[in-house]
């Protein structure tokens, strides 16, 4: 008889590692701020994945040692990075041509909400007290061949982020292809959210209870 184990949600590192496991060699990948940025640390060095940063860095490498920082080399999150052997620099118009022109195999972003039709909201809470800021989020979401989202399954106060329709201002329409949460991996298909994978011990019912939109099982 199996012991009943309390399902243990993934932490940020584990979520990043889970995403990394699905990225094959040779892909051109842009990673957003936050958990997405951690994904690069979990791609083994001998698996050549080319990371792109909006500010024109193609072939972003790992963070440098503190005493080896090059002040001229940062990523879109303004963090010090390195350039991998084989990397190159382009200007902003070419960098976004890369994004918009279908040259990006994958973009991984964080999000406030993803709707079952693939809509994503990740740039604004809609609150007006501060100047809004979008950066490259809309270009990435509309332009990448595949958009994956990595986020906690619910907000800190337990509200679901997998929703029927986004309540926050939209970043792009129908763009998300897959979601990695601390609880599950969910594809976004024409019929809606399809659960591909759950953490051990979690039931579909328990996952559904933490999601607003209906969850499907693979056909």
């Amino acid at each position: 008889m199996d012991a009943v184990v309390e399902p243990k949600p993934l932490n940020r590192t584990q979520m990043a590692a889970r995403v990394a496991a699905d990225i094959p060699e040779g892909w051109i990948v842009n990673l957003g701020i936050g958990i997405p940025t951690l994904v690069a640390d979990h791609v083994p060095e001998d698996r050549e994945v080319i990371f792109h940063s909006e500010n024109g860095v193609i072939g972003v490498g790992p963070a440098p040692a503190e005493d080896a920082r090059d002040p001229w080399l940062i990523n879109a999150g303004k963090q010090h990075v390195t350039l991998r052997t084989g990397g190159a620099y382009v200007h902003h118009a070419d960098s976004f041509a890369l994004i918009r022109g279908g040259h990006l195999d994958l973009c991984v972003l964080g999000a406030f909400e993803v709707a079952e039709n693939g809509d994503i909201a990740n740039w604004s809470t809609g609150a007006n007290e501060k100047a809004p800021a979008v950066g490259g989020a809309m270009d990435l979401a509309a332009g990448a061949r595949r958009l994956w989202v990595v986020m906690e399954h619910t907000t800190k106060d337990g509200r679901p982020r997998l929703v029927r329709r986004c309540s926050y201002p939209l970043t792009a329409l129908g763009a998300v292809k897959r979601i990695y949460t601390n609880l599950a991996v969910i594809d976004v298909e024409p019929r809606g959210f399809v659960v591909r994978e759950m953490i051990p011990g979690l039931t579909l019912e328990a996952l559904q209870a933490r999601s607003e939109a209906r969850l499907h099982l693979p056909a």
């Binding site: 090059d70 200007h91 809004p132 939209l170």
Partner: protein, 231 residues
């Protein structure tokens, strides 16, 4: 003899007028023409429209230009950051106009201007608040947003090397918006770390040909001050 070098930032900015649209290069303090921006904050100018990816931090640079009351409108993709207090204050008080543009659309609008194209269609922003009121149109089954070219009266850019014809190279991530802006303004002014003899730059590796540059000022100011992450 063509010699685009001028002796200082004041001479570099000569003739820039109130009401002008100023494109300012740089991304997160890297490739930012700091000396030209400081000079802008000291020049007797009003009602500027500034196009820049970020909107300044602390009380120096672009934040100072705004604090001096010289800016009527900011066009940028990411004004908000840890130290963007000047912009936040002016915005809250309604003293500055803010046009938020997706970063790639911003780059492309200037690229269109540089190429003499008045408008283009893009997928970015469709169905979002940033495309509200904008014309949309379907091509081959997908809907796109009509965006207009964004031309500067002046561009301020930061180069790594420059020669007297105004040929420019950049350093690593310091390239960013600079080559795009250099091509998109009536008057392009470059601040350069290093001066190169004419012919010393590899013709295959010049990023901005001098034909796009009007004035160059030599400011060996050293490494960019990154401060805190700004994004």
């Amino acid at each position: 003899m063509i010699d685009k070098f001028v002796r200082g930032t004041a001479e570099a900015l000569a003739g820039v007028r109130s009401g002008a649209t100023i494109l300012i290069g740089g991304f997160g303090q890297v490739g930012t023409p700091n000396a030209l921006i400081e000079a802008l904050s000291e020049a007797d100018l009003r009602d500027l429209t500034v196009v820049c990816n970020n909107a300044g931090t602390g009380t120096h640079g672009l934040a100072r230009v705004m604090a001096e009351g010289r800016v009527r409108k900011i066009i940028c993709s990411f004004p908000r950051s840890a130290g963007s207090v000047v912009l936040e204050e002016l915005y809250k008080e309604g003293k500055i106009e803010l046009e938020i543009v997706p970063q790639g659309t911003m780059a492309e609008r200037m690229r269109a201007a540089s190429a003499g194209l008045p408008a283009f269609y893009t997928p970015t922003g469709l169905g979002t608040a940033l495309a509200e009121g904008k014309e949309t149109r379907e091509f081959d089954g997908r809907t796109y947003v009509l965006e207009r070219a964004l031309r500067g009266d002046v561009a301020l850019v930061e180069a790594w090397q420059a020669d007297r014809w105004g040929n420019l190279t950049y350093r690593k991530a310091g390239r960013n918006f600079n080559p795009v802006m250099a091509m998109a303004a009536e008057l392009t002014i470059a601040q350069t770390q290093h001066v190169a003899e004419l012919g010393a730059l590899d013709p295959e590796a010049i990023v901005t040909p001098g034909v796009f540059v009007d004035r160059v000022v030599h400011i060996p100011y050293g490494e960019p001050d990154l401060g805190k992450p700004l994004y």
